[in-house]
Symmetry: C3
């Protein structure tokens, strides 16, 4: 029996290096299959999505993942605009959705929501983003992208730039990187530095440096992971505009980077990365989106099949 | 040829006991099948849903039902927020939707809407709730649940509590129970008593007693069917709060009930049933939701297959 | 290899008569197939829809088309109410959606949007309506309907009535008719006449007369194509009501038409065609909707299969 069968996917912290590498290996396997073979993996299985905050991108990534392995999806894409918004409890909604499906994909603004949902659900629950720090399938997608494009993760120097305070993507990625021997460099405006309380655990497994200057170690990076800086995070617009300009990845910056460095982004991108980067060999954010589809397909396939695939 | 083939499902009043029992028997058959076998029943058939009032729960029950028998679904989940809301008539919309599908599932606020839709549709129409009194698939789900859990329906004493005036679920259930030899006890606040004009027909086939006190016959009931009491129905909030409190099913009440009594609810539940009931052997409302998926799958399978399945 | 394989469908102007006839012939083929055979055509393929303006009708026509040939669909039905509305560029959204699917269906208010999307997409793009003049799949549906119902298109006299200024359907249909030897008669209020600048190209291939009087050539028409006149187009309501009344197709008008003339409408219809026409042998607008499903299925099948089907 494969060890992921009927297991919940709640936090990236629940995965050790061996498990991650096993998922990567199944993702590789799925990518090598032809589409007919792939559709046999979870033929006729139903995924139910339950989104307490809208995320079209993440939902469609799961929709396309389950379709690629032969299943189908149904659910609620934005519960705030749904009739389910009649005051029903999360527990009741999860119980019903798990009756309607073989696997449940939950997105929720509150920390702990996925863990709780997994307790009450009769089917495995996959966390598609919860609270401030958890987005395990995004972290797996990101780690797979690095592995795939750089052949290995150990030994790399990885820069992460942008809003490091509010993005759950960054925290999940850092926890995932904690399984590897990497050198992490965090770049953000002072007001958007990573939260000290949240890195207590991360620091036990991962050393990182911090800087407000994107150019400081730019020539040493193997990976530059870019995230959005959102206007809403700033008390006044002037401050925002000043800060934003300093973290845009353009051709000038790219020229200072290693020839084989890669640029990643969880998307959607606004203007953090200028579009002339898109056509360079360093731009890997669209590949990253494609890998996201296949890592999710692998996770779903492992969760739904006793003996793997 | 099976007698439900290409037939509309408009009103629970159109079903006699023999027909209901046949549907129950096909539901049992579907539940015994493995998922691969089940998906052959309506492989590749398309269900179109057309909801003139939103009901995420009912829509998803149909979505999961058609998926479980190998079909797919498409449609309009809330026509008020749809571009179809350009003033097109119900007749035109129904005609088009029936071109796009093999079976049409309609929800509409007006009495008679389903009957009318069935007239103009080129495909069978299933009423997923219309007007004040009709919700035939919910009634079939409820009757099947009682049969499944109590082994028979004849001879039971059934209490129905809550808002009996406005819920279409209750009227449909009473009409369905009219086919059986049951003893019905209705419990509601004075202002939410069942409508006299609507029970004229029911009374010919079914005798029931009425009470405002939930405890009155509580120790005699085999089934307690609980419905929501909605705040909006009351002229002032104080009145609502007073009434609401009197109809909450908690452990104290459950202890007064027969040991093998079952508690049902069409869901979603707010606080009409306290959550500590959930883990008792009497709580059958989540099973009821699951049976709803399979009774709908059976109805769809019978409607779509000439020789049944 | 079939000539439509992996090709974008951007403008009706890109299709010559031979290509149109080939599509019609594949549409005929699809209509003759039984549903099991049909579902093999694009088994397991995924269509992604990306609608920058809502159009439930067009979306459902594509949904049902891809379902009928064994595929599935996912996407964004109204991007303005979607989280993708975070300011992401059309190019980025198209790139991602093409990763998630085998073919992309785009609807967008701007001229040129589909052509641009096709440039950046890694999968074929089908224009489901863009800007003021392009709606190629609607034109193909309309031409196929005429061919199917009148056996040929050459030699026909075709009247087009209603709002000829703002409807993109009309411009696409005229460009499509430019491939045939037809006599076109345009009927509209003065203020909703066809745009002179837009017909410059059309006039090179097609001669048409114009009139404000629907009765002028009514007895000569083989086809009457009716479009909606929208209230919003008029400066004052009185003007609108006066004009609207003059272009309603009722039994009186139908009696003046040829016995075998056909009446078409892209739908949805408001009261441009009175409902007593529906049951006459001349009313072909619901058949037109059905042909729309099958022409789209044929286009999708050709785009997705190297050797056709």
């Amino acid at each position: 029996m494969n060890k992921f069968y009927q297991k919940d996917i709640i936090s990236i912290k629940d995965f050790d290096k061996e498990q991650l590498e096993e998922i990567f290996s199944f993702t590789d396997k799925i990518m090598r299959m032809d589409s007919t073979e792939r559709r046999e993996i979870s033929k006729g299985k139903t995924l139910a999505y339950l989104f307490y905050e809208p995320s079209t991108r993440t939902r469609l990534s799961f929709d396309s993942a389950i379709a690629s392995i032969g299943g189908n999806s149904l659910g609620i894409s934005d519960i705030s605009s749904s009739s389910t918004q009649k005051g029903e409890s999360l527990a009741d909604t999860v119980k019903i959705m798990s009756i309607y499906s073989d696997v449940l994909v939950l997105r929720h603004p509150l920390d702990g929501s996925s863990r709780f949902a997994a307790e009450v659900s009769s089917k495995p629950v996959i966390n598609a983003g919860s609270g401030t720090e958890e987005h395990p399938t995004q972290a797996i997608q990101d780690l797979f992208t690095i592995k795939k494009e750089k052949k290995m993760i150990d030994g790399l120097k990885i820069g992460i730039v942008g809003d490091l305070k509010y993005g759950r993507t960054v925290y999940s990625l850092l926890h995932g990187l904690g399984n590897y021997d990497v050198d992490v460099h965090l770049i953000s405006p002072e007001s958007l530095r990573i939260r000290t309380d949240s890195t207590y655990e991360i620091k036990k497994r991962l050393s990182f440096s911090e800087s407000t200057d994107i150019e400081e170690h730019i020539d040493e990076l193997d990976v530059l992971y870019v995230t959005r800086i959102q206007k809403e995070r700033f008390p006044d617009e002037e401050e925002y505009l000043k800060v934003k300009g300093s973290y845009i990845v353009g051709m000038d910056l790219l020229k200072k980077m290693k020839d084989d460095a890669i640029v990643l982004h969880p998307l959607p991108r606004l203007d953090e990365i200028s579009t002339d980067i898109d056509s360079t060999k360093n731009a890997k954010y669209f590949d990253q989106a494609e890998y996201g589809k296949y890592t999710r397909a692998a996770l779903l396939g492992l969760t739904l099949n006793q003996d793997g695939f």
